[in-house]
Symmetry: C2
Subunit: 321 residues, 2 copies
């Protein structure tokens, strides 16, 4: 897995190239992105990017079977399943085909690839054999390239292609390794400012799947209205990670410091993570990779195989019986 993380920054260029020429033309008023787990994350990052650029394009992320009721001819439906075999996403894909919606798909293989090729649905094929959560670079950059090709967004090429050089891999590895040591045998809570709450979600997913530990996330300021109550009896079992973003509202910073203090009184230890990277995408992906490192080293601390996926694979198998 270490090799996968070390090569993560190369994914942006590869994903961008994989999407060359793939497009859907139309007068789209909305995007619907269908995906589960790691395959839903490119849509989440897109939403933050659009907000940062103040682009008013509604994006709905659909994490379920079938489709929401509010799609129409002015919706571009984007089907993302890294494996190509995700049951829920294939169900959404088939429904979208029956309803003759404008479609594009991103996958590394599986049934989604087969059906798209057979039916000439516009398709991006990214490299296979990665855990989906560690293929976010491929998925995100190919999504951005498809949207550029389809004239939905523009001016993204340099931003994507320069990402690789802006990520300080080895420095992040060192920080991740150190942080992992503090997290042994804890239930992990990841708290982030609302604007970048997706980072908390991505870390949570990594802790679950890579480190095999219970982990939950929430965001500021909402969590101050309920979640901070309730650590009376289990405090010492938890460890909280709080993301500090220098560019955020100072009120949020104050909330984060106060929260750590209150939790400490209930025996919950906290670690602050200062977000690295300048600009929205370097910031997101530097901290995605930091999360990969932390969860990788925490798996090693716990003597777990970070790439082992038995439980989820078995679950999927049982769903098919």
């Amino acid at each position: 897995m270490r090799e996968i993380i070390l090569s993560f920054p190369k994914q942006f260029k590869i994903g961008f190239k994989a999407a060359k020429g793939i497009k859907v033309l139309g007068n789209f008023k909305k995007l619907l992105i269908c995906g589960m787990g790691g395959s839903a994350l490119p849509g989440e990052v897109l939403k933050i990017w659009l907000k940062e650029k103040e682009i008013k394009l509604p994006v709905e992320i659909h994490r379920n079977y079938s489709l929401p009721f509010n799609v129409d001819k002015k919706t571009l439906t984007i089907i993302i399943s890294y494996s190509g075999n995700t049951e829920e996403t294939l169900s959404a894909f088939k429904k979208a085909r029956r309803e003759k919606l404008k479609l594009v798909a991103i996958t590394s293989g599986g049934n989604l690839l087969k059906i798209c090729k057979r039916s000439k649905v516009p398709l991006v094929v990214v490299p296979k054999s990665y855990p989906p959560r560690l293929a976010l670079g491929f998925l995100f950059s190919s999504l951005m390239k498809v949207l550029t090709n389809s004239k939905i967004i523009r001016g993204i090429s340099r931003e994507i292609l320069s990402l690789e050089s802006k990520i300080k891999l080895k420095k992040l590895e060192k920080e991740g390794k150190n942080l992992a040591k503090k997290l042994k045998q804890k239930i992990l809570l990841i708290y982030a400012p609302e604007k970048i709450c997706v980072l908390a979600k991505i870390w949570k997913i990594n802790f679950n799947e890579t480190s095999k530990v219970p982990s939950f996330y929430n965001c500021f300021p909402e969590l101050n209205h309920n979640e901070i109550v309730g650590f009376e009896s289990f405090g010492k079992n938890f460890h909280t990670i709080l993301f500090i973003d220098k560019s955020q509202n100072p009120k949020i910073l104050k909330r984060e410091i106060l929260t750590a203090k209150i939790l400490k009184e209930k025996a919950v230890e906290s670690s602050f993570v200062f977000l690295k990277g300048k600009g929205v995408l370097p910031k997101i992906f530097s901290n995605v990779i930091l999360g990969n490192w932390v969860s990788y080293y925490l798996a090693l601390e716990h003597k777990k195989d970070p790439l082992e996926e038995k439980l989820i694979a078995e679950f999927k198998k049982k769903m098919k019986v």
Copy 2:
């Protein structure tokens, strides 16, 4: 607190009346609802109601200071702060006033009430002295009435006014009391099908604030892609509550049963809660009230005061220093 829950079904009529004549006219393409904690929940319930009725009205819920960038003259901004003193919501309110957005507010008092009266902002005043999470009936029914008055939705009166008679309070109390006994000294995970995930969130908030226990929520099918991994070492500390909705996709039911089985292997016990109530609103509110009962009786089991709010009150005070 028992009296508050027993009178909860009366809130719908009272909230509806409180909003009589309050309206904002305009050609609105979108609603922005600003609120934190319990005051954000009416917006969440509205979103489910709109989906159920297949009404294509975008609703954005804003849980932060200030306002999102994408509001404009075609947005109706709805400010909800039960106390009227929520710092984040007042910040959103002031920004909306500076930007001269179309506005309406719902509160029981505080600064929001004062400023609205002084500045003649359309305002609904609901009864005061309730914990915000237990004022959801007032807040939701007055929100629906304002939207009806403003000609944004219609035909809702009978649905709201008949709610009281459709909630079987005492039966729910008995079930809640029994369920609470199984949840003693546990970290509570609330899992619901995606379509009614808000119920899981509401129960989580009640367990935090009323029972003072750690509680987290997630929804099906997403949680099967990550959260089910990771209960190796802490399994016995958790208890999972899974909502079963008879009208849901049978695939989701299968996932819920499989999830409980897998968790059991990791020493996590589960309880199934079969959703009561026919029709979208009776279903939501019957199970909101069931959640109130469970969290109330769990507080008593733990010898905690279900109405005590010291920690959050102190937090708010410290934020003002």
